[in-house]
Amino acid sequence: MRRGLSAFNVTSIALGLAFLYLPIAILVIYSFNASRLVTVWGGWSTRWYVALLHDSAMLDAAWTSLRIAFLSATAATVLGTLAAAALVRAGRFHGRTAFSAMVYAPLVMPEIITGLSLLLLFVALDADRGFWTVTLAHTTVTMCFVTIVVQSRLLSFDTSLEEAAMDLGAPPLRAFLTVTLPLIFPAVAAGWMLAFTLSLDDLVIASFTTGPGATTLPIRIYSEVRLGVKPEINAICTIMIAVVALGVVAAALIGKRTELARVGADGRGG
């Protein structure tokens, strides 16, 4: 059999990757542009990164976004894991279909509708819109992604491990925390990463649910771009790309390592 790739494979992969990543590559390259004009190349420089350090509005927005992403991802991971456990373990309880539909609804719901309905809810509750309302909204929207990731791992999880833990004297909650959770941890971590990046990335829902004093990074960038693209924006976008890419690579590595250990364990079969 022939190994390696044919010319056709190489071309299609190159075109596909170019389609996906060329715009991003251009953005990254132009973030190192010395020229004040975004569209004119003026040689290599890191001056916009330095300029960014003095742009306190942009830095504040980035800090707000990171805090919201961290808190909402953590809350979504706890809730999403519990929902996944309920869907996989509780059998056919009353209202299971409705529950599962409700968990997954945000996945297919247009963001603009989710954002609007959350806004209406916060207005009706007379909640002070700002940091906490955005965090809540992001928790709601990202929870279902965590549930999907964790649920697929739990489906392939050998229930007898948890039963063995209980048989050996661990109450159900402790059995879950000491046996199930460490074993499904890669999926939980991947779910957290996904929720974190989704939150960091979100513009629509954040702009509906935020208030004065809590401007997230995407909102800040969007409002600045309307006045014309400044080179600093390229720089901050490059930093965001780096953060997200690091997160995704880390999640993939964790997942791969544990998967290898698991396959190794199964592959040895007795």
């Binding site: 007898s160 039963e163 063995a164 661990a170 007795g270």
Partner: protein, 387 residues
């Protein structure tokens, strides 16, 4: 309790000194009282009653889907009975959750915790009891010595062979010193040779620890080798509960006779029965005799069960006895190494099997395919079955 210390005595349930089930005053350790378990409308266990005694090695034997594993899970607490009661030491344990039951289980998949070392696996149950660390360490060492896994403390389960994993699972469950130790198909994942060795290790272990073992298996040879008593299950019910030898020599139904080992079944009607035995007229012709007496009206349809190894085969002689004697033609000979199975088509149309031990190296068989032969057996070898 009178226990025989010699390992050999325990094999095949032939511990003459150990038979608490024959003592009406003995109190069972585990009692199932008309226990039923239904999943939806399908009964997995159907109003089953069973007593198991302290120190007993009990085997639940049956084809897959007969409810034997469900029975084990009911005792471990993973399932709740739909009906009936389960008593442990005379106490109803319906409301005791699995983590409070003095019962431990070895799972078919072993269910070792892959993220913990061998020592961590064995220690898991002990930590739940809140034992001091020194005692846990001592218990781990003791258990690993018991299952001959010293020096494997720091290995992870995926670094062990199938046999070693099985022994870690044993050590982990036994470390808790359970009142009842449950084994769900403990040897199913091992290869044949290892399985045979492990059977002897299991009986040895049970003897050493004096614990009550309940094993679930679909392998009759396994059940016969390890157990004091066997409960044969079919469709959620116990068909027969007796010692391995009784089960083999005195099955109570055609189903059990056929399920345990190989058997020839001949249909007939009772012609006479009394202290001198029972005479049966074969439906396909011939006369059969059994040494036992049966309590059924004359003319009742019964089946005579004869194990193939109790049937003698010889070249046809004209002066053969007519009772328990049939002439026929050899159809087929199955050579199994230790024994040869002769499949014989009788002149009355029935097909019977005779098993003959190959006591000498047969270069040339005295009886070959297509030869005329006569089959016969002793009246004591016949078992009359009424259902």
């Amino acid at each position: 309790m009178a226990r025989d210390g010699t390992g050999n005595e325990t094999l095949g349930g032939a511990r003459a000194s150990f038979a608490p089930w024959t003592d009406p005053a003995a109190r069972p350790l585990v009692r199932f009282e008309a226990v039923a378990k239904r999943f939806g409308v399908v009964p997995a266990v159907d109003r089953l009653s069973l007593d198991i005694y302290e120190g007993e090695f009990f085997a639940l034997l049956g084809p897959s889907g007969c409810g034997k594993t469900t029975l084990l899970r009911l005792l471990a607490g993973f399932e709740r009975p739909s009906e009936g009661r389960i008593l442990l030491d005379g106490q109803d344990i319906a409301d005791v959750p699995p983590h409070h039951r003095p019962v431990n289980m070895m799972f078919q998949s072993y269910a070792l915790f892959p993220h913990l070392t061998v020592a961590g696996n064995v220690a898991f149950g002990l930590k739940q009891e809140g034992l001091p660390k020194a005692e846990i360490d001592a218990r781990i060492a003791e258990m690993l010595a018991l299952v001959k896994l010293e020096g494997f403390e720091q290995r992870k389960p995926h670094q062990l062979s199938g046999g070693q994993r099985q022994r870690v699972a044993l050590a982990r469950a036994l470390a808790k010193r359970p009142r009842v130790f449950l084994l769900d198909e403990p040897l199913a994942a091992l290869d044949r040779k290892l399985r045979e060795d492990t059977r002897f290790e299991l009986t040895d272990l049970q003897d050493k620890l004096g614990l009550t073992f309940i094993i679930v298996t679909h392998d009759q040879e396994e059940a016969m080798t390890v157990a004091d008593r066997i409960g044969v299950m079919s469709r959620g019910q116990l068909v027969q509960v007796s010692t391995p030898s009784e089960l083999y020599e005195q099955p109570n139904s055609r189903w059990v006779a056929d399920f345990i080992g190989d058997v020839n079944l001949i249909e007939g009607r009772v012609a006479s029965t009394g202290p001198q035995g029972t005479e049966i007229k074969g439906e396909a012709g011939g006369r059969l005799r059994a040494a036992q007496t049966v309590d059924v009206p004359l003319g009742t349809l019964v089946w005579v069960a004869v194990r193939p190894e109790k049937v003698s085969i010889a070249a046809e002689t004209p002066s053969m006895t007519t009772e328990n004697g049939f002439a026929g033609t050899v159809l087929d000979i199955g050579y199994l190494g230790g024994v040869s199975i002769y499949k014989v088509k009788l002149d009355n149309g029935l097909i019977m099997k005779a098993a003959v031990a190959n006591r000498t190296r047969l270069v040339e068989r005295p009886i070959g395919s297509g030869d005329r032969v006569s089959l016969s057996w002793e009246p004591t070898a016949s078992v009359v079955l009424t259902r």
